[in-house]
Structure formats: structure tokens, C-alpha cells
């Protein structure tokens, strides 16, 4: 039961129309309808929320205003603060970030015989990967193929992705699933071993593999266990604050900062992989976020300062179904799997206002339209929201389905007295994913030699919109590739000499000359949520 009686009353309308709504097969929008909807209601189209960069390799491009402030912000150090001739760590492959991509990279670099090391500002596994609920795509069923997956991903991303990256994503997907399975990841399977797969928004085949609604957690904890079994060093509570270059402008390590003592340390490496994840905690346009505490775009800053270009940094994913109520979990992810299992989106009058499995950008824009122009949202203490009719799942598939397939969702709402098996829930878009990022080539290399990027920090794989289940996939596929390629490159690279941080001063003067220098400490590292009296 909802603590607010009005919601219980409104939920009755949803219950009354459930049988009719369940049978309904809503029409999918045409390409033109989608274009108009996005242009009118998607947050990426709000020009006033973006700033054009005045310095750096993307000068002239627009990015979200909060990101621009950091990209043109102030380094946390100056070159004189550290002694680059006496590194505290020496390794072949330095991996910045301990999420799904970083852990996958570390395992593969280790497998290739390279000396790998992970640094992470929190703990290994503190990452968006851990929070991915719905699943991971791979075209491994007989009625599916990597080519169909290619069309879904490329089209879902508005034909903007880099074809060579999409090719890698889809053709390496089945092997990624197999790799995870061999590491011991438990996928939902039938008794004969057939994978239980469902649709995601924008998929044309049921290719979403899952581990209940703890898919990312199950993958992440297994990868973490494997990293530890291999004895790969993990330096935790230690952030990278600047990339170090060698005299020829190649990446050669990073300056690290202990998050607790603020001690600065130098890590020298033959190759560096940035796997720092996304940026939800920058709360673009004031949106709540489904992201991890550490999702503060650090990798974009690190790369940008040494001259690595960004691609599609102006496109963000607002997950259509963030929690709209209760306040305690406002913005928390309600997995798309809820809709994959058959729950529909319903407005205040109990009407199904769209097909529940359009792509995420279209679905988010449609919910925003329902709550603004059409004024069919449900008023909460934090704004408007629409219903996601979760009881429809058991109406269609029988009692017990929710506990078996989406236990995390049941628990999350259950803590606030809401039984999602019996009551619909309130949802509104939440900042979820950075579609763009550091521009990478097919081998995961950035524009800077010996500097690689993988996972959410990389751009170009998903174009301007990512499909559900292609992010867990991307962190595994590109994490592994980055690890292998960075290890191979390290083998042919000598220990870097004459390390420098000259880029800091150079970038500072560029900012000064452009008149945009600001005092914001960058990278952000952690959001500032403490109330200061």
C-alpha cells in the first residue's frame, strides 16, 4: 500500500483497466513520429542546457554545461607537486577504474602475460556495472544473427555509431557470454541449457540474457573474484587525477591521489586504459540519476586534457523508468526488464499511451510529453510521474514470476511498503548513461598513443542512443579487447623515459587565452552531497 492515499485511489483505475490493457498491442511509432517526439521532448535537444567548448581538441563542440565546467576546469595538481623520476608503481598496463570494463581488461591483460594493475577511487566493483539489472545482449539464438543485432544497435543509435565498433560489439557478443559463463556467471537457463532471453526496447529478436535482475551484479562479482584469484594488484580508494605522457607525447602512466589521505603517487606504465565509466552524478539538467556514486566523468577529463578527442559527448541517455516515488529511491533504476516481462506504461486515466518497448530515448521523451504537454501524469512530491503496471506481469505469466525474475525490484519497493506484485509503481526518466565519450578506434585506442579506453567512458559504439543490454555487453567486449590490445602494445614498448606533466600548464594557458579558466577542481572524483550549514 502507498502511504499516500491518493496513489492508492489512482492505482485502482490502473487495476480496473488491467485486463483490457494487457491484451492491447500498442502501435509502434513511425520514424517521423519518433523524430518529432525527440526533437520536442528529449532533454538532449534543450539547447540552453549545453555549452560550446572554448579550449581543447573539441573546441567548438557543445557538451552539457556541467561537463563543460569540468572539461575547462582546474587540474587538482601542478607538475611540481610530484616527482616523476621516482614512480611509486611500475607496471605494463595501468587500468584506471575497477568496474566491468576495467576488471575484464585486467583479466585479459594478465592472461596475455602482461603485468596489469587496477587503480580505483572506491572499491573494485563499485561501478555502474554492479547496478545493471536487466541483462546483456548477444545474438546466439537460431532465429537471430549478429547481422540482425547490428541493424538493431545501429538503427537504435540513430545511424551515428562507428560501424567498425558496432561490428565488434555484435560479433564478439556470443563469445563474451561464453567467456562469462566459463568464469562461472550464472545465466538464466532452461533445464536443457537454452538461455532464457527476452526483448529489450528496440530489439527485433529476444536476445536479452539475464541473471534474474541482478545481471550486472552477478557479472561484476564474478569478475572481481577472478581478478583477486589472479593476484592482479588492485589499489583501491585511489583516483587518477592526471595522465602522464612521455617525451614523445605517448601515455606513460598517471598521477594518483589517495582519496582518504590525499597523498599523491606516481604510477608509470607502458600502456594505460581509461575505464572510469559514466557521468550520472553530474546531474545534467537537474535530473536524478540511476548511477553509481562515483559516476563523475573523470575519464573524459583525464583524456581530454592530454588531447584525446570526445565523440557524441552531447548525447545522454535518460532511462525512461527511474523511480518517481518514494523520495528515498527517487531516480533509482527500475529495470527495463519489467517492461520486457510485459508491464505497460499507463497514464493517470489508466490509458496505455505508448508501446512499452520503443527505444529508451523515445520512451523517455514520450513519458515527458505525457507529464507535460498532455498533462496526464500523476503529481508526486518531486514532480510528475506515470504508472508502470507491474501487476500486469503476473496477470500474464502467473503468480511467482516477479519474485523469480525481478527480485531486486520487489525488494527495493517492498522496503517502502509497496508490493509491486499487487500495486503499479510510479516512474519518470532518470539520467542513466553517457552515450558518447572518448573517441576510440576498433582496437580501443584513443587519439593518444598507448592510451586506451573501454566501457561507458568510450564513445562511438552506441551512436546517439544505446539499447538495453548493449552496455553490459560493451564493457565485456571492449574491456577484454582493451586488455588484450594494451598488453600486446606494452610488449613492444620500452619502459617510458622522461615522463612529463607539461600538458597541464599548456592546457591552463589555452584556457586563459580563451578566457574560460575557472576554479572548479577537476576531475570531480565524487559529488558533493554533504549539506554545509
Amino acid at each position: 500500500m502507498y502511504k499516500i492515499e491518493k496513489f492508492n485511489e489512482l492505482a485502482k483505475i490502473v487495476a480496473e483497466k488491467r485486463a483490457v490493457n494487457a491484451d492491447l498491442e500498442p502501435r509502434r511509432m513511425t520514424a517521423e513520429e519518433k523524430d518529432t517526439l525527440l526533437a520536442t521532448f528529449h532533454p538532449d535537444y534543450k539547447q540552453e542546457e549545453f555549452t560550446v567548448l572554448s579550449a581543447g581538441v573539441n573546441k567548438g563542440d557543445k557538451v552539457p554545461t556541467q561537463l563543460a565546467e569540468l572539461l575547462q576546469g582546474k587540474s587538482r595538481i601542478s607538475a611540481a607537486d610530484v616527482d616523476l623520476t621516482a614512480p611509486d608503481y611500475d607496471t605494463d598496463v595501468l587500468i584506471i577504474g575497477g568496474g566491468g570494463a576495467g576488471a575484464s581488461a585486467a583479466i585479459e591483460a594478465d592472461e596475455a602475460g602482461a603485468k596489469a594493475m587496477i587503480v580505483t577511487k572506491l572499491r573494485i566493483g563499485d561501478a555502474n556495472t554492479m547496478m545493471a539489472e536487466g541483462g546483456i545482449q548477444a545474438a546466439d539464438k537460431p532465429n537471430d544473427s549478429p547481422a540482425i543485432h547490428y541493424i538493431d544497435a545501429f538503427g537504435g543509435g540513430h545511424f551515428a555509431a562507428k560501424p567498425e565498433l558496432v561490428k565488434n560489439l555484435v560479433t564478439k557478443a556470443p563469445e563474451a557470454i561464453q567467456w562469462l559463463n566459463k568464469l562461472g556467471v550464472e545465466f538464466d537457463k532452461e533445464a536443457d541449457g537454452t538461455m532464457v532471453t527476452t526483448h529489450g526496447g528496440g530489439t527485433s529478436r529476444k536476445r536479452m540474457h539475464a541473471a534474474k535482475d541482478y545481471s550486472g551484479a552477478e557479472i561484476m562479482r564474478t569478475l572481481r573474484d577472478e581478478v583477486l584469484n589472479r593476484g592482479i594488484p588492485v589499489v583501491d580508494f585511489t583516483a587518477a587525477v592526471e595522465i602522464i605522457l612521455d617525451e614523445n607525447g605517448k601515455a606513460a602512466g598517471a598521477v594518483l591521489m589517495n582519496m582518504e589521505t590525499k597523498e599523491l603517487l606516481v604510477a608509470r606504465a607502458k600502456t594505460v586504459i581509461i575505464a572510469t565509466g559514466g557521468a550520472g552524478r553530474l546531474h545534467y539538467q537537474g535530473f536524478p540519476t540511476s548511477n553509481h556514486y562515483g559516476a563523475t566523468a573523470d575519464g573524459l577529463i583525464l583524456g581530454y586534457r592530454v588531447g584525446a578527442r570526445l565523440l557524441y559527448a552531447d548525447t545522454l541517455q535518460y532511462h525512461p523508468t527511474g523511480t518517481g516515488y518514494p523520495e528515498q529511491i527517487f531516480g533509482a533504476l527500475v529495470t527495463e526488464k519489467v517492461r520486457s516481462l510485459g508491464a505497460k506504461l499507463v497514464n493517470i486515466d489508466g490509458e496505455v499511451f505508448m508501446h512499452p518497448l520503443e527505444t529508451r530515448d523515445v520512451t523517455a521523451a514520450s513519458i515527458i510529453r505525457e507529464c507535460t504537454e498532455r498533462d496526464k501524469g500523476i503529481e508526486t512530491s518531486l514532480g510528475k510521474a506515470v504508472w508502470l503496471d507491474t501487476p500486469m506481469i503476473e496477470y500474464k505469466h502467473g503468480e511467482g514470476t516477479i519474485e523469480k525474475r525481478i527480485p531486486a525490484m520487489m525488494r527495493m519497493f517492498g522496503k517502502y511498503g509497496i508490493d509491486i506484485r499487487k500495486e503499479p509503481i510510479l516512474v519518470y526518466p532518470t539520467l542513466h548513461y553517457q552515450n558518447g565519450g572518448l573517441n576510440i578506434s576498433a582496437d580501443c585506442s584513443t587519439d593518444i598513443e598507448n592510451l586506451y579506453a573501454a566501457g561507458e567512458v568510450a564513445g562511438g559504439i552506441h551512436g546517439r542512443n544505446r539499447l538495453m543490454g548493449n552496455s553490459l555487453l560493451d564493457v565485456i567486449v571492449f574491456g577484454r579487447d582493451a586488455g588484450m590490445n594494451a598488453a600486446a602494445k606494452a610488449k613492444e614498448t620500452a619502459v617510458p623515459e622522461n615522463l612529463t606533466l607539461k600538458h597541464i600548464e599548456k592546457f591552463n594557458s589555452e584556457l586563459e587565452n580563451a578566457g574560460v579558466a575557472n576554479e572548479t577542481a577537476s576531475p570531480m572524483l565524487l559529488p558533493k552531497y554533504a549539506r554545509k550549514a
Binding site: 520514424a31 572499491r123 563499485d126 554492479m130 547496478m131 548477444a138 545474438a139 546466439d140 537460431p142 544473427s145 547481422a147 540482425i148 547490428y150 541493424i151 545501429f154 538503427g155 545511424f159 560501424p163 567498425e164 555484435v170 556470443p174 561464453q178 559463463n181 566459463k182 568464469l183 562461472g184 550464472e186 545465466f187 537457463k189 533445464a191 536443457d192 541449457g193 537454452t194 538461455m195 527485433s204 529478436r205 541482478y214 551484479a217 552477478e218 562479482r221 564474478t222 573474484d225 583477486l228 584469484n229 580508494f237 582519496m259 582518504e260 553509481h292 556514486y293 528515498q328 529511491i329 527480485p407 531486486a408 525488494r411 522496503k415 565524487l526 552531497y529 554533504a530 549539506r531 554545509k532
Partner: protein
């Protein structure tokens, strides 16, 4: 003005609005969190916390990001707990009863006090999954422990010194790799890709003019 409640963070009193979680109450009180804060959504286990309500006996355990503050709550966070994780090679071990005996023999010293279960922040039946592990029933252990976030509160309460989350982690990997049925269609597809079955098809898509691929996308058949 919101209704306020009094909470005691590490024993010190703060007055905070009701409805906050323990985590947001700490931030309201002015804490800049580094330790003890992770996903903020109940998946990562970073914010294990123990609390007791003033003048009450019972000790509670929870995740700070998932638990509302209450009047008179005495709170201590447990941002790190020294679990014992044994090192093994997943390719070399097998799902035998002996493997638990070798790696985590302390599980056989369980005295059945059930303190682990009572403390679990995810309301799992921890003692039961340890019992399954003792008997080598890894499939059941994996299922029973599946929602574990490895926060370590169970282990903090265990008189036998068991690292329950690590035992369960091993059981799940054994189950996922060795016990759960293999997947034929997955192996077939991996082989097809290695044989280059889709290479030409995808190269062709990569070369297509944008209008043609748009047409393909907009008219593609969607599985019901």
C-alpha cells in the same frame, strides 16, 4: 518545516528530517562520504550499517542507502569488514564436497546459532546456504545466496569466523561453470562466428548507404 527525528551517528546526536535514508541523513548532517557509500541503490554492499533503537535491546543490520532513519536510532557504519577470500583457479577446481573442505573448512564449525541469517541486510537465509555448502549442494547454495551483496554483516556476527559471502561466491561460480547445463545454441553460434559465417553479411551492412540501412531498420520484422 519537515518533521524531524533525532539520530545518533557514531553516538553523536543530529536532528534530521524524517524520510531520509541513513545515508542521506549523514549527508544532511554534513558528512562528505568516501567510505561506506557505493551504488546508493542496494546492489554493492558498501554501506553495511548496524543500529540499535534507544533503550531497546535488539541489534539491527541494514544497508544505509536502503533504510529510513527512525527516532532514537544509534548508528555505526561498517564500511569494511575483513572477509577471508581463498585463492583458487576456477579451471582446476571441481564441484566436489571436498573443495569446500579444502578452501573454507571453518564452515563445518558452524554452531547453528543463526546470527548470520538474523543479521542479513538482504533477508537471506544465510545459515541455510552454509548448510547447503557443507553438504556440497552448490546449486541450492547458489540459489539461496543469489541476492547476496557481500556486505559482510553476517560474518561480523559469526562466532565460527565464517566468511559466508565468499563461501557463496565460490558456490555460485562452481554452479555457473560446472553444474548448470551447458548451452548448445551458444556454442554453435560462437563456432559459426569463428568460421566467418556472418563476416560478409556484416561487411555488407557496414558499407551500405545510410538510406538503405534506414530502410532495413524501419521495416525490420520484430519477433513477437
Amino acid at each position: 518545516m519537515d518533521n524531524m527525528v533525532n539520530v545518533y551517528l557514531f553516538g553523536k546526536k543530529y536532528t534530521v528530517p524524517e524520510g531520509l535514508t541513513i545515508m542521506t541523513a549523514m549527508e544532511y548532517a554534513g558528512y562528505d562520504l568516501v567510505r561506506g557509500c557505493g551504488c546508493r541503490n542496494g546492489f554493492c554492499g558498501a554501506c553495511a550499517t548496524i543500529y540499535r533503537i534507544k533503550d531497546k535491546q535488539e541489534l539491527h543490520a541494514c544497508l544505509a542507502c536502503q533504510t529510513e532513519v527512525q527516532e532514537g536510532m544509534y548508528v555505526a557504519t561498517l564500511p569494511f569488514f575483513p572477509l577471508v577470500k581463498q585463492i583458487y583457479n576456477i579451471e582446476e577446481i571441481k564441484p566436489t564436497e571436498q573443495i569446500m573442505m579444502q578452501l573454507y573448512p571453518e564452515i563445518y564449525a558452524c554452531i547453528g546459532c543463526n546470527a548470520c541469517t538474523k543479521a542479513c541486510t538482504q533477508e537471506l537465509n544465510v545459515m541455510q546456504y552454509i548448510a547447503y555448502a557443507q553438504r556440497g549442494e552448490y546449486e541450492k547454495c547458489a540459489e539461496e545466496s543469489f541476492d547476496c551483496v557481500m556486505c559482510g554483516v553476517c560474518s561480523s556476527r559469526c562466532p565460527a569466523g565464517i566468511s559466508h559471502p565468499q563461501v557463496a561466491m565460490l558456490a555460485r561460480r562452481l554452479n555457473g561453470k560446472y553444474i548448470a547445463p551447458g548451452c548448445g545454441h551458444l556454442e554453435d553460434r560462437v563456432k559459426e562466428i569463428k568460421d566467418g559465417t556472418f563476416e560478409e553479411l556484416i561487411e555488407d551492412l557496414m558499407q551500405k548507404p545510410i538510406d538503405e540501412i534506414k530502410e532495413l531498420y524501419n521495416t525490420r520484422e520484430i519477433e513477437k
